[in-house]
C-alpha cells in the first residue's frame, strides 16, 4: 500500500546505509514529512551540537501523501539543526523530487556524519549508492542536475542539490530542485555543504498503491475543483505570488528600506501585472508552470529581457524575490528583480534572507555604521541596483570582508559589526522577516514572533485575517476540528482572538507539511480551501489510513510540540531578543510612516502583544515561559521523549 515506503539511515562518515520500514504506530503518531522529521531530529541529535559539524543530522522526506492523488502532493521537507539560528532548521520545497523519492522506495532519509570528499546520493528503486561528486562540486544548481542526469544516463532523474552558496557554507544557503524550487529557509544548503553532500538524485518506477483508486480519483477531482475555483488561486494561477506583494503594498503592508517604510511608492515596474507582461513577451501567452499534480500553476516562466543576463531563462519570481530585490532595497526595477531571482536560483541561496540582509547592510551604510572601507568602496545606497546584485555575488562567494561577514547570517554579522547594528536587524530567532510589515496587523506579528523556525510567514500566518471576513465565517473555519467559543474579530488591526487564529494556523500548516501538500491548497490565502476535514478523506482514499480530522489535528499538535521541545533544548527562552518569541523593538517604537489612512501611525502595543503571547501559550498548554506543561506532554504522548521508536 501507499505506506510501505522506507526510511534510510545514511552515515556519510562510514558509508554505512541501513533501511528500515516505518511502522503503522509511527505513522499514526507523526504521519510523515515535517512531523516525522521533527521526531527524528529530536531523537537523533544531541543537545548543543555544531550545526555545521558532523554530528548534525539531516532529514530529507516526502509527505505521507507524496505522489498520490492529493492535489499538489509534491512537497519535499528538509530538516536539521539550523546553522543560521542554531535552533530548528526546517524548509520545504515543491517541484518533483518528493514523488520521485517515493517511486524510488523511500519516504525519509536520515543523513549523518560527514563525507571525506564531495559525494552525492543516488537512490534508485530501493537502492542507495554513494557516488563521487568531485567533478560536479562548484557547479551551479541547474548545471549540477543536468550533469548528474548525463552521468547516470537518465533524463527523468530528479535531484535535490546545492549550489556554490551551500558549498561555501553561507548560513542561509538553500537546497534546490528544478529551475527554482527551493527549500530556502534556515540554511539547509549549508548543512548539505558541511557534510560534503552535493546532491541527492532519485529515480524510481515502483508503484505507490492507491487504497481506493476510483474513490481517490473522484475525490481528487472534487478537491481540485474546490481549490481552483477560489479567487485567490485563480489570481495565483495568472500572476503567481507577486500578486500578494502587489496587494499588500497597495495599503502599506510591505517592508522597504529595511524597516524604514511600509510601502514602496510608485513601484509600478515591479507590480505583478508588469512582471506578467514580461513573462508573456518572453515566453508567450501560456507561461505558467506547476509543481507535481498541481492545477494552480503559480509560477511564471520568463527570460530576463535586458541587462547583463538578457535572455537567461528562469522561473518565478515569487513574492520573496520581488520583495528582496525590488521593494526592500528600493530598487523598483523589474529587470533587477528578475536578475536577482536568477542569481539566487543558480547559486542556491535563500532570496528572502539575502535580500533582507543586504537591505539591513544598506541601512547601516546610510547610518554610517558601515563605511566605504567596509564595503571596499561599493556604494551601498538604497536604490543602487548594481550594488545589490554585486552584494548577492559577494555573499555567495564570501568575497571581501563584508560579503564574508554577511554570509554568516544576521546575528553573527551584527556581533562582528557591532555599533548597535543589531537593533536594526529585522529578525526573529536569527531568521530575517519576510518583506512584509506587520505593525498594522497584530495577528501576523504574533505569527512571526512565535514561528518554530524563526520569523516566518509559512509557519502560522493567518493571512485570511486580512480579508475582513464576517465573524461567522471565521468561526466556521477556526472552530474545527476542535471547538472554540472564545472571541474572534473581523478587524485585522485588533488583538482580539488572534492568538487562537495563530495557534490554529500553526497546526493547519503542520498538517499539510506532514501530508506533503502545498499550502496554497489549504486555509492559507483563502477561507474556502481544504483543511483537516478534507484531509481525513483524502488520506483514507489514498492510503487506507483511517484518521479523523481530530486525529490529524492531534498529530499536528504533537509534532509542533516536538519542534518546541527541540528549540527549548537548544536554548530558546521567551524574551531573548536573539532566540525568543520576540520582535525587533522597532515594531513597538517606530510607527508606520506610509500606507492607508489608519495604517500610517500604526505600531504594535507592547502590553497587548505580551497578552497575546500569554494567550497563545495557554492555547498550547504551555506555561508562562512557553514550556509545555507536564499534562500537555502526557496528553500528546510525549512524556517519554526521546522515545526512539524509529
Amino acid at each position: 500500500m501507499a505506506l510501505n515506503r522506507k526510511i534510510a539511515y545514511i552515515d556519510l562518515s562510514t558509508g554505512k546505509i541501513e533501511t528500515r520500514p516505518i511502522s503503522l504506530e509511527v505513522r499514526k503518531k507523526f504521519l510523515g514529512g515535517r512531523g516525522l522529521d521533527a521526531y527524528l531530529l529530536y531523537n537523533h541529535t544531541e543537545k548543543g551540537i555544531d550545526p555545521l559539524g558532523p554530528k548534525n543530522v539531516l532529514m530529507v522526506s516526502a509527505g505521507i501523501l507524496g505522489g498520490t492523488l492529493a492535489s499538489a502532493s509534491s512537497r519535499t521537507h528538509i530538516m536539521a539543526k539550523s546553522p543560521l539560528t542554531e535552533l530548528l532548521g526546517s524548509s520545504n520545497m515543491g517541484g518533483f523530487f518528493a514523488p520521485e523519492l517515493r517511486w524510488a522506495g523511500f519516504d525519509h532519509l536520515v543523513i549523518k556524519g560527514k563525507a571525506e570528499k564531495p559525494v552525492y546520493l543516488w537512490i534508485h528503486n530501493g537502492e542507495i549508492e554513494l557516488r563521487d561528486a568531485s567533478n560536479i562540486w562548484g557547479k551551479t544548481t541547474t548545471e549540477t542536475q543536468w550533469a548528474i542526469r548525463e552521468e547516470l544516463g537518465d533524463e527523468d532523474i530528479k535531484c535535490a542539490v546545492i549550489g556554490p552558496a551551500g558549498e561555501n557554507l553561507v548560513r542561509f544557503a538553500n537546497v534546490m530542485t528544478g529551475i527554482k524550487d527551493s527549500a530556502g529557509r534556515s540554511g539547509m544548503g549549508a548543512v548539505f555543504g558541511s557534510k560534503n553532500l552535493k546532491a541527492i538524485a532519485a529515480r524510481g518506477t515502483m508503484d505507490i498503491k492507491i487504497a481506493y483508486p476510483t474513490d481517490a480519483l473522484e475525490y481528487n477531482k472534487r478537491f481540485i475543483d474546490q481549490i481552483v475555483s477560489s479567487k485567490v488561486n485563480q489570481t495565483q494561477g495568472t500572476l503567481g505570488t507577486p500578486f500578494i506583494w502587489g496587494a499588500t503594498n497597495s495599503w502599506g503592508g510591505i517592508r522597504t528600506r529595511n524597516f524604514q517604510y511600509n510601502q514602496c511608492e510608485y513601484a509600478d515596474d515591479i507590480e505583478p501585472e508588469r512582471i506578467d507582461e514580461i513573462a508573456t513577451e518572453t515566453m508567450g501567452k501560456y507561461h505558467m508552470a506547476g509543481c507535481f499534480g498541481c492545477q494552480v500553476h503559480c509560477r511564471a516562466k520568463y527570460k530576463i529581457p535586458s541587462g547583463p543576463y538578457a535572455g537567461k531563462y528562469d522561473e518565478g519570481p515569487e513574492y520573496t524575490s520581488q520583495g528582496a530585490f525590488g521593494g526592500e532595497p528600493d530598487c523598483k526595477s523589474a529587470v533587477t528583480v528578475l536578475t536577482g531571482n536568477h542569481l539566487v536560483d543558480q547559486w542556491g541561496v535563500d532570496n528572502l534572507e539575502i535580500g533582507s540582509i543586504i537591505s539591513w547592510a544598506m541601512e547601516l551604510y546610510e547610518l554610517g555604521i558601515l563605511t566605504n572601507k567596509d564595503t571596499d568602496g561599493l556604494d551601498l545606497s538604497f536604490g543602487n541596483d548594481e550594488a545589490l546584485l554585486e552584494m548577492i555575488r559577494r555573499i555567495t562567494f564570501r568575497d571581501g570582508w563584508l560579503g564574508d561577514t554577511l554570509a554568516e547570517g544576521g546575528i553573527q554579522a551584527s556581533e562582528k559589526i557591532g555599533k548597535n547594528s543589531f537593533s536594526y536587524l529585522i529578525q526573529v530567532k536569527g531568521m530575517s522577516n519576510l518583506h512584509s510589515d506587520e505593525r498594522a496587523t497584530p495577528a501576523l506579528a504574533l505569527g512571526i514572533a512565535t514561528g518554530s523556525r524563526g520569523s516566518d510567514h509559512l509557519r502560522s500566518r493567518p493571512a485570511i485575517d486580512l480579508y475582513h471576513l464576517p465573524e461567522e465565517v471565521l468561526r466556521k473555519v477556526y472552530s474545527n476540528p476542535v471547538p472554540y467559543d472564545g472571541p474572534l474579530s473581523s478587524e485585522h488591526t485588533s488583538y482580539v482572538g488572534k492568538s487562537w487564529q495563530v495557534f490554529w494556523q500553526e497546526l493547519c500548516y503542520m498538517g499539510v507539511d506532514c501530508l506533503g501538500i502545498c499550502k496554497y491548497h489549504t486555509t492559507f490565502l483563502g477561507a474556502t480551501l481544504p483543511n483537516f476535514e478534507d484531509w481525513s478523506r483524502v488520506l483514507y482514499y489514498n492510503t487506507g489510513l483511517e484518521m479523523s480530522p481530530k486525529d490529524i489535528w492531534d498529530v499536528a499538535e504533537r509534532c509542533y510540540n516536538i519542534e518546541r521541545l527541540f528549540n527549548l533544548r537548544e536554548g530558546l527562552t521567551r524574551n531573548d531578543p536573539k532566540k525568543g518569541d520576540t520582535l525587533n523593538h522597532r515594531y513597538f517604537d517606530e510607527p508606520c510612516r506610509r500606507g492607508a489612512p489608519d495604517v500610517i501611525g500604526a505600531k504594535i502595543d507592547r502590553k497587548k502583544f505580551k497578552k497575546m503571547i500569554d494567550e497563545y501559550y495557554e492555547h498550547h498548554g504551555w506555561d508562562e515561559n512557553g514550556i509545555p506543561l507536564p499534562e500537555t506532554m502526557k496528553r500528546l504522548g510525549l512524556d517519554k521523549e526521546p522515545s526512539h521508536l524509529v
Partner: protein
Amino acid sequence: MAKVLMINYEKCTGCRLCELVCSVMHEGVSNPSRSRIKIMKWESEGLYVPISCQQCEDAPCINVCPVKAISRDEKLDYVKVDYDVCIGCRVCVTACPFGAMSFDVIDRKVVKCDLCDGDPQCVRFCEIQALEYVDADRVSVFKKKDAAERLSIAQKEAAALQAQV
C-alpha cells in the same frame, strides 16, 4: 463522429497530473512509468510536450504486429491491443513513431492509450485544457483559428507601421 485526444502543448504547465491519473485509472497505482501519457520536458527552456497515442489511421503498430493482436476499435475508433492474442514481442514499441506504445515493466505487457472507454481521465483532470477530447475535425479548425488570429495581428501591425510612415 469519432473523437480524438487533442494536445496543445503550449498550454501544458508540466504538472504531470495526467501521468498520475492515467496510472491510477489503469493500474490502481501512482506510477508514471506505467502511464499511457508522458510529458517530455526541456526543463532548461520551460518547454513541456505531452506525448500520447495518435490513434494513427494507417497504424505502424497494427501493421507490424506478427500475431494481429492490434486492431481498430469500431465504437471509439482507437487502436486497441488484444491481450489474449498479444505475445509481448514489443515490435510495436519499436515501430511506433511517437514512442506512444510503451512497455510496462511491472505487468510485463505493452500498454497504450485506450481513451478510458470514452472518458479520458487525463483530459478530465487537465484544468488548463492542454488536453482536450474533441471531434476529429475540430483539431484543424482550432489551428485555422489560431493561424487566422496571427494573420490578423500581423496585418494590423503592418497597417500601423504604414500609418507611421
